[in-house]
Symmetry: D2
Amino acid sequence: MEQGSSAKPPSGAEPYPHAGRRLRVGIVGGGRGALVGRWHWTGMRLSNRWDLVAGALSSDPDTARASGRDWMLAEDRAYVDFGEMARAEAAREDGVEAVTVCTPNWTHREIAEAFMAEGIDVICDKPMTITNADCDALIAARREAGVVFAVTYPYAFHAMARQAREMIAAGAVGEVRQAIVEYAQEWATGPDDPGAKGPKWRRDPEKVGRASATGDIGTHALQMLEFVTGLRVARLRADFHVCGADKPMEDTSFINFALDNGAPGMMWITQAAAGNHCGLRFRIYGQEGGLSWDQESPEILRHAPLGQPERVLVRGHGAGILPAAERMACLPRGHGEALSDAWGNLYTEIAVAVSARRSGTPVPDGLLALPDIETGARGVRFINAAADSHEAGGAWVDLAPA
Amino acid sequence: MEQGSSAKPPSGAEPYPHAGRRLRVGIVGGGRGALVGRWHWTGMRLSNRWDLVAGALSSDPDTARASGRDWMLAEDRAYVDFGEMARAEAAREDGVEAVTVCTPNWTHREIAEAFMAEGIDVICDKPMTITNADCDALIAARREAGVVFAVTYPYAFHAMARQAREMIAAGAVGEVRQAIVEYAQEWATGPDDPGAKGPKWRRDPEKVGRASATGDIGTHALQMLEFVTGLRVARLRADFHVCGADKPMEDTSFINFALDNGAPGMMWITQAAAGNHCGLRFRIYGQEGGLSWDQESPEILRHAPLGQPERVLVRGHGAGILPAAERMACLPRGHGEALSDAWGNLYTEIAVAVSARRSGTPVPDGLLALPDIETGARGVRFINAAADSHEAGGAWVDLAPA
Amino acid sequence: MEQGSSAKPPSGAEPYPHAGRRLRVGIVGGGRGALVGRWHWTGMRLSNRWDLVAGALSSDPDTARASGRDWMLAEDRAYVDFGEMARAEAAREDGVEAVTVCTPNWTHREIAEAFMAEGIDVICDKPMTITNADCDALIAARREAGVVFAVTYPYAFHAMARQAREMIAAGAVGEVRQAIVEYAQEWATGPDDPGAKGPKWRRDPEKVGRASATGDIGTHALQMLEFVTGLRVARLRADFHVCGADKPMEDTSFINFALDNGAPGMMWITQAAAGNHCGLRFRIYGQEGGLSWDQESPEILRHAPLGQPERVLVRGHGAGILPAAERMACLPRGHGEALSDAWGNLYTEIAVAVSARRSGTPVPDGLLALPDIETGARGVRFINAAADSHEAGGAWVDLAPA
Amino acid sequence: MEQGSSAKPPSGAEPYPHAGRRLRVGIVGGGRGALVGRWHWTGMRLSNRWDLVAGALSSDPDTARASGRDWMLAEDRAYVDFGEMARAEAAREDGVEAVTVCTPNWTHREIAEAFMAEGIDVICDKPMTITNADCDALIAARREAGVVFAVTYPYAFHAMARQAREMIAAGAVGEVRQAIVEYAQEWATGPDDPGAKGPKWRRDPEKVGRASATGDIGTHALQMLEFVTGLRVARLRADFHVCGADKPMEDTSFINFALDNGAPGMMWITQAAAGNHCGLRFRIYGQEGGLSWDQESPEILRHAPLGQPERVLVRGHGAGILPAAERMACLPRGHGEALSDAWGNLYTEIAVAVSARRSGTPVPDGLLALPDIETGARGVRFINAAADSHEAGGAWVDLAPA
């Protein structure tokens, strides 16, 4: 392999501390036919800090067993029932230290509670729950259990998203004065594939809650916005639309918002825009500059300092990359990282947090930027606020601080 | 010079008819220090269908004379007073056949009326007037005078904007289901240059009317949206903001709209987004595809037919370019055209319309797509509707059909 | 029209001096069916410094007359014979001050000589001649006549090509250490259109000389390379190929070269690369940085200072644009200029040179960067050196300084 | 996690067969301070088909032990001596089935031979050896041992590189008529970091052989060229240059070549071009179209069918992606894959080959496109041919078929 630029961070960024062993993790959900399990597994594998050793991969016994073989789990650790898994693993000396919950959203709460009750750290997919009440319950349960509770918003773990956050915090655009965020996909433009399971429950308000696309991808846009600006959406108004083929819930939403410093912004969420695949993008402006990023070109962050030529920052070491973003860079500049690597970074930070709790060693300040249960709750409250607004004809609705 | 691809349209697009002589045109406004005159003059020159022979370039006699020399006008046709110019030119056998009005917006009405009263065709900069009442008055005056009245929205004269319009009309995206339009600039991010005249009146509601950025560039976004989709904005809601340095009127507006087929959309208008220069962009989506364009890369139109790879159409002849867009292409593909060429196309179409009226020969159906007085009125009504909405806290406001 | 950023150069770049009247120019070539005349005419019109008043547009009397009407020439100044035109115009008090020669390349010499003999300044298309001997003869004739002799390499008149030249001269990349230049088109990939005149003589060595694509577009690449680096190609080796449909002369050449400071480089010239339209591009590297530009995105120049993020410079005023490039900027940043504007800049500089000679006022140092007869000769010698090398199996051949 | 587009290949591409267990692999090289080990480990982890269980990570005992802990190896399998490792592992029932050799290039031969002698499959970094004679020896040794011998050219395992290969094979450009390949980096522009080990041996002909950049990255360019075109370089001529800071071996080479179908091409190899990070790019042209790709935007392949708009193919399922490339796609379109994923694909294909040999089940035709020992030898012969040519003043040199 060629050398590329040096892998050694020139600016003194220390890598993440390593426990010296891999942590044991289990998974609930993610069985055969489920895409979402693969995301988590990729993060576990790439971080090299986890061994996936147990799972309740399906509530169907045959699928559970077959999926367990896919994941190369020991037979006695391929569970059918998550409650049994929680109890059995807690009882084992080599039981899982953390569990990934990547079942459909409306089941997250009870599963997470079962594992927290056993003192097992939780890694929960997003959106965290369906209702605000479930968020409150989970927050209370976590406070009691004292466990780590991470919510998997992976896009924030692209190194250049971290770079954006650090640059904004350091004043690269001045105070944020407006923000444009969008997450555009195309897959719901045409009629749903009748055989696809995912879309079916995504259109069922009984299951998915009060919003479809807004919950599915809008929550990513919200998290990214709040993550990079360091600000919170204080209020919003939303209109839900069906722009693709007929369906019972929205595939598109147009959201106006005000950040808690008063800056206004717009958010465009759609799954019915042909030619867009995973178009999570932000553009943030202050009186001293602008910053923009597109998750489909995740290695590049554009910085326009007012009155100067735009700078194109590329992930890697040196050349304007700040220590927190250098720390996340595994490959040299130009040797592209993308979403798998972001999942790796996410599972690395979770491992650091879990190890720290278990060893009683505090994590150094500012090392991690891990979406926690409060971040998870922000997403749920955002969905419900957007639905409230939509139902009220697009009225402004407050988004309570988590 | 190298050959490039053939300049002969392979698809049978006939060029615009030519009168065999250049038309005589005058100008009101555009004297020394004014940028806007140059735009018009570029269009006149590039179209090769106009001779600029008279002007009331300034109400200050010294500036008028000096500017007349800049424009190489005959001394006796460098007027100080536009009314005198209208009368004197109408009296000359070789008087102007059309006049370009590019004074500050609040003066357009009386100037246009003076020339229409003399039977002289009018080429009016945008926004056409300040108030809706002025639009009504102008429309009535034009009906009586029977003259050509063109409003100069140049971006629609980029060949690839015409291509977009023709493709949408031909069903390239199916029925339009949502539209995202933006016009972003950066020049109002910092404090206004105290010596600059333009910004001063643009911040003065007495002069510029009820909106600043929304009128200045938002009208372009509206016209482009309606031009390419062939639809009309039926209603809108708008929030005005100051996102750049403090100023008495908005530099940013966030506008939600519904088109008259029911499709929703968003419009982002700002002059305070660092790194944006002349970012007029549209993205139009239907159930069969998407189409996007950015005026800073005007030669390229992106077409994403659902389920197929995106196509990158480039201005020129053949390779998917439709006859109406081929007709506008002066240079071979890749030999870049840009805004000067768009102004040239605009003044070509105006010349065709003026010649047709004067010769009594009707223009062939579908040959021209010239923004007329109704289009001009759309822009004014849009500004006032946006201001109404903003003042009503972002309430939905109908935008009456022009 | 919206304001955009100020048109006033903040850095003190004074515009080009203006003679206060338009110069009278004639044209030889460029009649009906010829693309090349339009390029020149666009430059004349956009510069606003020329009136085209005479022409020998075709050696066929009917075409000459018809073309004269197209160009709106007076009937007695639509000549059939260029020699007669030279004499007649020289005899008129209002005769042409300069003549544009845009006939097929092998006729340039005798036409230019006829006009120079009458003291008329010459604007000659490229390549200037077919043989090196013709160059020598023209150079001698011009020295004797003392006229201005400009060769029309328009791409160097994109403002951002001038910016590149100024930046390299100012040390933006350090000393140039390697250069990659290419000019790629696609039009010769398939079989020639049997009706097209241009391709026919371009494949006829009797007429076009010893190279086809290398002369047609390779000369542009050479001129751009030498223009932006301020260096000269000292030696080269070339291989000619036919990569598109069968044809008697090369459509592709691969050229290695050494600049006169010893830096090596590569040049790729082709008219048989599908997907390339007018792909004139350079990438210049020194030990302190790199600079790259693509004529299909002419407003953008990319500057990579070693160890820092890449900067994207955009034509306009301020934001790193140097005075010589600001002077060429007619429209505000983002209000795109392209090839028509480059031709306008070229004809502006020619007008300044012609006016200066005729008024006896010297042009200020460094104001113009006009390709002169020596530049024209470089192109011809380059073609012949490439052919020499190709015929010698790709041997290194010296390219004598012009 | 959002759903994105379906992960199920609609075109019937079956995923790679899976052995049902992870294979045991060892590594020689890759200890602390070595970047290269991480590449391999990433591929092993992401493929989920390997357990790294043994290593001779350094010839220094302390480093070997410490590195073993980094890699979480059992203590008795963290060897100091590769020969001992080969013998010990072969003797274990749970010994490694394959070994990755990622030591400096001049040591590959003896290490590979030691493991092949024990019947262990070999995964060898590139360039495979220093001399052609070593290639011959390795080829003979492998023939005798009958083992799998894979050479790690990872860029060919970007899904869209495979797509390019399949499209060219299917006639998307017609017969290949010219090819432009480049691999440009910037890291050798300035003086070498005195503490960096890599650069030191890369400048030492005793160790690295007769070429530096040409071997390091030129071999990737060669492999990619031959991989996507399905053709072989038949002859070449090369000039070596130092364009960055002074150094004893070339950092840049300019190579002309002819493919075995007669098509010409150019290759630009440099590590001294500021602003280039990992710029491996190809542009392939035939008489029916062109195809281009840039490893820094690995998800995108541009296809220009002659006379039609360019198509932008994006990795994923459907929308023109061929089965062999769909098979490599792990994430839905737009959920970016990059170099880590390419390494994963590479190690997946190696696992399939190793499993097939060990189980005696033949691999289905056309399933794998694994660089084998012959591909490895092509790279070495290319380096030596380039050096031969350079030393002969850039003379044409045949590149014998491997």
